[in-house]
Amino acid sequence: MAADTLQVGRLRNVARHWRPFAAFAAVFLLWLAAVRFEWVDPRFLPSPDAVAARAATEFTTGTLAFDISESLRRNLTGFAIGASTGLLLGLLLGFSRTAERIVGPTLLAFRQIALFAWVPLLSVWFGGADAGKIAFIALAGFQPVVINTWQGVRGLPPAYRELSDVLIFSRVDFVRLVALPGALPAIFTGLHAGLIYAWLATLGSELFLNVTPGIGGRLNEASQLFEMDLLFVGILILALIGLFYISSAHWLETRLLRRRTR
């Protein structure tokens, strides 16, 4: 019977791999039907083959591949800067009660300022070129990471803090052996959110700072010229890249956290 259950488990795993695709397929069918039966004004909803054709030309004769790589480069650079700064500051705030009391409230207040409100200031301070964009993306990635890391460390069960007191852990050991692993779920929440925001900011930076190659500019072009096929290509690419980011983060997370619970 134990062996049977294992078999069932394996089958269930296969099914699990299938399910996400089912949802995507359903949405695709819905789209096809909406086009076919004209549920939506055809000017607003391009057909899948029009979008596919546009994507093909954009990738072969157009600049889309380069646009994507430029957006990704900015996104990753900015996120790396923002997330690592956020992680370090978050840890500092989590460990040092004094740092927390001095910096914490201001940080929370700053976080309440909408991201896009920073565009004019960052643009004037860093210029509208790559420096300004990356600063903006870094800021976006920084905020959720710093907050979640900080709260994650703060929320560590007191029992674990005591334990590291008793084992006389150095700061480094405390971070490595207790705080980081203990705060890891929270930190991952922060990184997830940070990735999402940094991706939003990448698009935003390409729309609100000056235009250089990137997906943001292409989306803007699509909506100005009312080219719905290009708009859909852009949206699909945004979704795919975001999905890739999130699933990689999730994969990493489950690998790291897997063995903790029964």
Binding site: P105, Q112, A117, L121, I235
Partner: protein, 274 residues
Amino acid sequence: MTLTTSANRPVEQRLTNSSGVLADVAYAMTLPLVLLLAWEFSARLGWLPEQILPAPKVVWATIVELWRDGSLIDHTFVSLRRVAVGFTIGALSGLLAGALLGLLPGIRAFVWPIFTAVAQVNTLAWVPLLVLFVGIDEELKYVCIGWSTAIPVTLATTRSIANVSPNLLELGRVFNFTPLQWMSAIVLPAALPSMFTGLREGLAAAWQSLVIVELFASFEGLGYLMIWGRQLFQLELVIAAMLVIAAIGVSLNAILEHLERFVQPWNSEALHGR
């Protein structure tokens, strides 16, 4: 003899409630004051030209002026209304969706990837499309703000529920709890801290989205004020709007935090002990 050595633990413990709050406020004000002083000095010494960073007194004068002519209140009210409606819609649907996804791993397996994919396409990209379907009036603002609120709330709720300790979940099975009891006695309290984090994220996202959507299609609101300030290259207007947004954000956040403490007495009580 009570021990009051140089060790800071007992001192900290004794600084409960009233005096503790005072000390906290003193600490909290340090950094803003330092920043303000640095800002004022650099303005006085002319390190930063006015176009790069207007002096504090210019920003203050702008706030006073906006206050006098009533436009600050008008813009604030409009934004608050939009955020209130959008956030409520978004938070409720996010909590609901998150609860469903967190509780039903079967559905989660179907929907999660497509949800994450769609969540990656942010307000900015949706707006041109959304305008076609919901128009450009208040509905557009509510939908955008609600959407951006719902995403972090859903994410956090799903994760917090999916991460509730299996040991505690088991307990509910042992007591044969009805789904409702199971939710109220185990899942909810266990997930509450992260859910509140999600709500706070959602609130922040609501403000983000407000600015974006007020840029796209609005004549009023704090976000509009900010965009207007940028358009006219009046950074003092931008900073004034930022300050007001931050002040409101801090207050709303404080309310959420208070609520959080209120619904989790076990945390605050236990903290007093240990």
